[in-house]
Structure formats: structure tokens, C-alpha cells
Symmetry: C2
Subunit: 287 residues, 2 copies
Amino acid sequence: MKIGIVGLGLIGGSLGIDLRRLGHRVIGISRKKSTCIRACEMGAVDEADVEPSLIKDVDVAFICTPLGVMESVVEEIIPYLKPSAILTDVGSVKEPIVEAIGTVWTNYVGGHPMAGLSENGIDSAVANLFKGAPYVLTPTDATTPSECVSVVAEIARDLGSIVYTCSPSEHDRAVAWISHLPVFVSASLIEACLGETDESVLKLAKHLASSGFKDTSRVGSGNPELGVMMAVFNKVAILHSLGRYRETLDKLISRIENEEWEALGHGLDENQIARPEFLRLSVSEGE
Amino acid sequence: MKIGIVGLGLIGGSLGIDLRRLGHRVIGISRKKSTCIRACEMGAVDEADVEPSLIKDVDVAFICTPLGVMESVVEEIIPYLKPSAILTDVGSVKEPIVEAIGTVWTNYVGGHPMAGLSENGIDSAVANLFKGAPYVLTPTDATTPSECVSVVAEIARDLGSIVYTCSPSEHDRAVAWISHLPVFVSASLIEACLGETDESVLKLAKHLASSGFKDTSRVGSGNPELGVMMAVFNKVAILHSLGRYRETLDKLISRIENEEWEALGHGLDENQIARPEFLRLSVSEGE
């Protein structure tokens, strides 16, 4: 197939590397000429340009830009797409994106390959980024052509991903829990510690912090722009998760205040038992 | 020196291995005969017994039991200690322990070697557990003999630890931030996720959880008994940290509710900048 990739960063570039290896012809579109040149040099694309017209005869196009510009980028390329072209995106929030793109293009299915690295940009693109990772597809029962879902699912499986299918809302609520909530819980930990007003205690805390603090604070100090985009695009689900989290925290604080040690221990027991359920190896649920 | 270790678990056993290697004669006391035998077999002690009288002529005694029994264990051994013997402990909370032991023994200095493994018990004891780790000593200005602090500090440095000295209260407030707060923040994350009432969303969340959830939830699913002990012994400092954390979380929730994206991004920026200050290599501050 001839496949277009719009947005040549970590995800777009890594997709290109794998898709070319799978025998597809890959066309790249980027706003920056220098990124187009670098993507060609790296073998992430067969050709690339800043001109959206290059996309004109692709069979499938992946939108791999940041969430904030997906809608405008799609509007820019659709005049050049052939009517049978299948459009998909890799955005980490689905409901608003699916709503926006689904309205302007029929052969569209939202997608979210759940792979990433701490680096960004074309230079961080690598082969096999998606191998073994979940790849969520979010067709809307009413309007998404099943042919379109099948084609993108097959590509995702060829990449080595484990394909899950659900509604855009289910996706957004699930990632709010396990991907977005951890970011804000973790960020608040760092910020709260910085609020210590006794300088000697803050200094000592910085010296004594070790693996527990390191792990719990990691995702809260990631790309700030990405954190804001999560909140902007997944506001409702994130506020729901944060609200539940706050209730949980209040219950825990009240147990400590009232010295309800047995209840506190029981809660910690249950968490210890439950956590492995979130960390089992992903198993394909079919498509 | 002749050194006694009361409580032969991970910390007591690992201490014994290193102290023997450093040329000290190590006496072990444990409630269980089987632990005494195992500690001897492993070379963690020169001799060990369930009888506290074995401690009678040690120069230094390390109390390495769980926090909950330290006070009673000390009461059991002091009739056998020679008056010049130096007593120290390895408890992860200092104010109540220092208060309790300091009252019944003059030559006492509280300590906290900040090393650990996820395993417990004598079988998990290893050499060099304390190498490169902070070792906090908490003399009380008024009463702790300086000779006593010097002796324990020298042993800690011989173990390869980086020695910090502060008041029991400073210690407890610092570890509340970077060691105890992360446990409760992390535990609440798991518990909040389990509160999702839509079964399909909860199932999907469990399938999609990856490194972000894994890291942020790790310390919250540790030993529940240890979590309760932290809260029991460090209640005031933990409640203070949890209160500040909750205020920080409220501010973050309100920023998302009110779509104050710039302020949200600014906060995340500051966290990203601040986190490395908590993760620099520990540098000796002198003793």
C-alpha cells in the first residue's frame, strides 16, 4: 500500500520505519523542510515534503501531529485525498478528535498506539516501537465503515501491536485512570514537597529522596505541554478521575486522623492484591 | 568492637554481614531459634540466641526490630547491657522512638539507614546494603553524649553510608515528604482506579496500564504493615504532608475546571525543573 504520515515526530517517524520494512511505500508530510530531509535520510519515509498535495494518492493516511493541530491538519489534507483513502490518527485522547475528523471524512477510524519514549522528534524515531504495545481503535458504531477498521487493525497487528477496540468515550475514561491521572497525582507530589517552608527540612528531604520518590514523581515531571493537552482534550474524564482520587485520599486522611489502623491496613492490603491486575502482560482481545 | 544486633531481618542481617567483614565480633538476638541458626549459617553473626542475656558485654547494640516492638525490646535488653554500652536503632521514624529509648538509656543515639529491598527477613540479608545510602543520625542536642554519636557515625561511614545529622523532628518531617507521602499518594491511585464502576472501562484500563501507572503505583502496593506503622509512628508529619498534598491537588483540579491552561502548564514546568533536585547523588554533609 501507499501510506501517508502527516507529522514526522517520534510516533510518525517510528511508524514510517516499520511500515517501509513491511513493504509499504511511505509518504511523509511535515511543516519543517529540515524534518522532511532528516526523515528521508533516516529511512523513515520514501519521500517527504512540506506540501500537503504529496498525500494525493495514498491508500491510508496516519495523522501523527500533536492533538492541538490535528483538526486543522486534516482540513488541510482532505482536498488532496482520494475518496477511498482511509484516515486514522494516533492521538492520545479520542472523543473530541473522533468527533472532529469523523465529521469531515467518512473512511476514518480513530486510533491510539500506546507506545512512547521520553524523547520526542524525528531523531528519536526507532524500529519496533509498537511491538507488544496496545493499539486502541475507536470506531463509532454508527458511522465507521468496517472495512476501514479492518485495514487499520491489520496494519497495527503487522506492527506487532495488540489491538483493542472500544468506543472513543471508553478509551478516554480508561486512559484518564491509568495514563492521565498518574501524571497529575505525580506532579502534585513534587509540587506539594516544594511547599515545605522549613528550609532545613526541604534540603534534608532532597538529600534523602530515593527510589520511592523517584518512581512516584517520574510521570509528573514529563513534557508539560503534553500534560496540558491531556487536560484540555480529556477534561471531563480527567476531572472525574481526579474527583474520585480526591475522595479516596480524603478517606485515607480521615483513617489516619481517627487512627483507624485496621481499616488503613485493609485498604493497603487490597491495593497490594489489585495492582498486579493492572500489570499483567496485555493479551489480545481480538479486534 | 563487640556489636550486638537485636532483630535479625533484612537490616539486622545485612548489618551483621558487613560488620563482621569489618572485623567486629557480632552477637545476634532474635525471637526465633530458627532465625538465630540461619543467621549463623549465613555468616551474618558470630553467635546468636533467643536469650537477651547474650548481649551482656557488647560495646554497641543496634535495635533492628519493627518499630512497634522497639520499646519493649529495649526494656528487655537493658538489664544486661554494661553501663558504657552505646545503643542505637534503625527505625524509619525517629521522634517517638528517640523519646522512648532516650528516656531509659543515656548512651543512645537514634539512627535510620535509608536502605532496603522489597524482600524481608534474614534470608534476604546481603552484603553492602548500606553502601552509598544515606544514614541519618538524630541526637537530641540536650542529652545525647557526643562520643556516642561519633562511634555510631564512624560505623555508618565504615558501612559506606553517607551520614546526615539532624533532629528527630526534622528527620520525621523530611521522610514524611519523600518516603511516606509517596506511599499514600501511590496507594490512593490504585484504590481510586478500582472505584471505576463501568466494568468495561475498568477492564480496558487494566489492559492499557503501562510504565506510567506501574511506576506511580509501585510504592503504594508495598508491605501494608509497614504502611500502617509509618502512619502510627509518624502521624503528625504525615497528616501535615497529606494536607499540603490535598491543597496542591485542589489547586490543580480547580485549574482544570476553570481551564486555566497557562497556570497548569506553568506548574508542570516548575515540577519538571525541580524534580532533579530530589534525585541528585547524595553528597556527604559531614556528620
